[in-house]
Amino acid sequence: MAAATRRTSQRLTLLMLVLASITILTLDYHGEVSRGITHIRNSVRDALSPAQRGIAAALHPVGDVFAGAFDYGALQTENQRLQDELGAAQAKQEENDFAGRQADQVLALDHLDFVANIPTVPAEVLSAPTSNFQYTVEINRGTSAGAGPRMPVVAPRGLAGTVLQSGGDTSTVRLVTDKSSSIGVTFGTGADSGSAIASGQGLGEPLSIAELVGASPHVGEVVFTSGTDGGAYPAGLPLATVSSVHVSADGLTVSVTAKPLVDLQTLQYVSVCEWLPQA
């Protein structure tokens, strides 16, 4: 009797929690409540960003060099002092190289010819994707710096993604390789160069451009944003290079895979283009 009552109570608890979850999930799709939830999420991200910054600094490559030196030293005690010196020198060298690479990236962001006259907000990537199913990164600029939802995000070599949501001090950027990402593209900047939609296939995977009409791309050719997919991106942003071309058996359609120009797995500095799509 007691066991049956306990089972009923457990099932009731499960039912109530499932219903509560579904209610919250449903509310997230409704305007006013969704805005409130987004506001709370952005505030939490802003609050967590100092911890993210701190840990990112702690995971600096220099740490790896020291760790390597410690492991080796445990096996050859008599060479410890020399190894420490070598480790320190390597660490210094690594630090200098790292700082140099950072400086190069930041400087490169000052000369983004392809964004023309669009004002940009430089930003640093705070963290890798928070979801195992969506490819987004957090950056350290939000609405207070001028960044906002739907703005394109570029790196020195081309388009990296688009702002999904923005808090006061941070923003979430959906990368071009995310599977929900689709971008109007063209091969070359000319009007007769053909246009299509490039779809993300996941991090580390090339973009897929299917059923091309009016273009005959070749491997190595650069793919640009066309600016015609409802105006979601400005035209002429470099996106990827064609890595393979497949012609259908009937020869009527062409499918292409294209490797993003920006190395999204080591993305560190980006610029948010203060440009909004037409409504």
Binding site: L17, S21, L25, L27, A51, P129, N132, Q134
Partner: protein
């Protein structure tokens, strides 16, 4: 569960979220990272039982969704089912006292939770949730849980049993004289 247990749980949930965002999210293998939150859910079910485990899983889901770009409530829904299921596995005859069972159930719950999250995500219209990436995510989360499940189970035991022990310390013993 006592007020003390819930207070401990809230603190652990906040710490776990920070560790997830600041540390574990940076460890990317095959495009996926270990997931402490879902591992804690499995541990909660195993240690606290179905109903209490599901309640704790619901709260953990609300916390986890704060930093995810996916619809709010999706993690809660997934976690509730996983936490309840882990509690049921724990209540099976012969599974009550084994530490290795607690650990294995937590690891399995993390893997099942990740898969269930992908399925439910696809059901609510999220693109790209099912496919090769989901397989990688399940694999990486399960491997991560092999390590994370040990502290997760310990922490959940501290929350649930520690809180109850502390509360019983203030209670009048039953079945005997309190003035002995």
């Amino acid at each position: 569960m006592t007020v003390l247990s819930w207070a401990r749980f809230a603190g652990i949930a906040v710490v776990a979220l920070i560790v997830q965002v600041a540390v574990l999210d940076q460890i990317v293998v095959l495009g996926a990272h270990p997931d402490l939150m879902v591992t804690l859910v499995g541990a909660a079910g195993v240690i606290a039982g179905s109903a209490r485990g599901a309640s704790m899983a619901f709260v953990l889901g609300l916390f986890a969704d704060l930093v995810l770009p996916t619809p709010y409530g999706l993690s809660s829904l997934t976690f509730v089912l996983v936490g309840f299921g882990a509690g049921l596995v724990r209540s099976l005859p012969g599974n009550r006292d084994g530490r290795s069972t607690e650990w294995a159930t937590s690891v399995a719950a993390a893997a099942v939770g990740t898969l269930l999250y992908a399925v439910l995500g696809a059901l609510v219209g999220q693109q790209g949730f099912l496919g090769r990436d989901a397989v990688y995510a399940v694999l990486v989360v399960a491997l991560g849980a092999v390590v994370l499940a040990v502290p997760a189970v310990m922490v959940m035991r501290w929350i649930v049993r520690g809180g109850e022990r502390a509360a019983s310390g203030f209670a009048v013993p039953t079945g005997g004289s309190a003035t002995r």
